[in-house]
Symmetry: C2
Subunit: 203 residues, 2 copies
DNA sequence: ATCCTGACTATTTTGTTTAAATAGTCAGCT
DNA sequence: AGCTGACTATTTAAACAAAATAGTCAGGAT
């Protein structure tokens, strides 16, 4: 079942769960609490979602979908590849923050990720990479970027962004990022993107 | 007491500990085992080092010292800043691998680091930064690099390198990096350095 | 005085049991 | 089809015991 063809009730449940998970993280919210929020019994909640994992997965996929939709929209309105890339890293960072709140445990680590999530994550990474590859290739064809291997370079770019994100989280015990840390991360990310763009640009 | 003015016995102990910690990590090697290696009683080992932490700290500082010495040597023989930077990332990466073996737990994370280590780590980061700043400033004065804020850019560069390293480790349960992963990390690091250098170079 | 040791104690880690919390099921009602 | 109370199954947390290892010390050897 796709994100698009859900019943109203399911959508409502997803919204409530999204809000709750976003506030305290999956492992701190019980199914009972979500049911209470919906003024529903827990058993009824299980009528819609077979288990907690699938509910969480649906919320994560909803977030992913919202991010991809949002960024795809912008792609249509922005013409310059470099501007586009800057826009991308911005949006991506706020999405990162959302995901962080959603789980409150090292979300970007494959290691202790259940197979179900591994798959959705791989899919997301593929979409993400596709977007960046498109931007890079566009830049090349417009004569702005000089890139030998756009696919490899896209991977590298995404790895570096991820690295910056992880660096911040890795240094902390409590998996939460405050405004100050966020703006510092944003600053670093922007500075990095500038240099990277310059590094790819025709001299 | 500096790394330089230790008794022969202390040096020997450090070598043995360095080897042992390097093989299995600190937490998997007992003081008894190190003492056995040295054909010494555990109590004697404690005669030289007041506790395990200080022994471990001494080993880490030895490694740091070896790295800094090694890289400083190269700085003297290499003239071109870009070549120097490439040399740096190479050496730094092999040092990373050593440290990884030494602890086998997220060493680069400040969070659960005892104050003693936090200090030596801060010192090391400062030295590291100093080296990069020097390389950058040299590049600027030689008219090769164009950098507005060399200090900030050095921080960013080091953060990005760290990010790439952490990305690899973060995805794993077992904190060990094999040859294949290492060469992939090296490849990414080199590719990144190339783009970064280009991004800093005068057009 | 320097270096070393066996025999000790203190602390940390690991394993085990039990209790509590929460996930998940189901027969049956509306 | 959608919902529920009352149930069971699993997971997590707390408490305790046992094992491993860190760390101490009085005193012996050189």
């Amino acid at each position: 079942m796709s994100v698009l063809d859900k019943s109203n009730k399911e959508k409502l449940i997803l919204e409530v769960a999204q809000k709750r998970f976003g506030q305290y993280g999956v492992e701190k919210i019980s199914m009972q609490e979500i049911a209470d929020d919906l003024k529903l019994s827990k058993a009824s909640l299980y009528y819609y979602f077979p288990d907690k994992e699938s509910l969480y997965k649906a919320v994560v996929e909803k977030e992913q979908h919202e991010f991809i939709t949002s960024i795809t929209e912008r792609i249509l309105s922005i013409k310059e590849p470099d501007k586009l890339l800057r826009e991308y890293v911005n949006t991506r960072l706020s999405y990162f923050r959302t995901l962080l709140n959603l789980s409150r445990l090292r979300l970007e680590a494959y290691s202790d990720l259940k197979p179900v999530f591994r798959e959705t994550m791989i899919q997301f990474k593929a979409k993400e990479k596709e977007i960046i590859v498109k931007i890079f290739k566009d830049g090349v064809s417009k004569g702005i970027f000089f890139i030998n291997d756009p696919v490899m370079t896209a991977s590298l770019f995404l790895d570096l962004l991820k690295g910056l994100r992880i660096s911040v989280v890795n240094d902390k015990k409590t998996l939460f990022i405050d405004d100050e840390e966020y703006s510092k991360l944003l600053y670093n990310t922007v500075a990095f993107t500038d240099i990277f763009i310059k590094g790819m640009s025709i001299k």
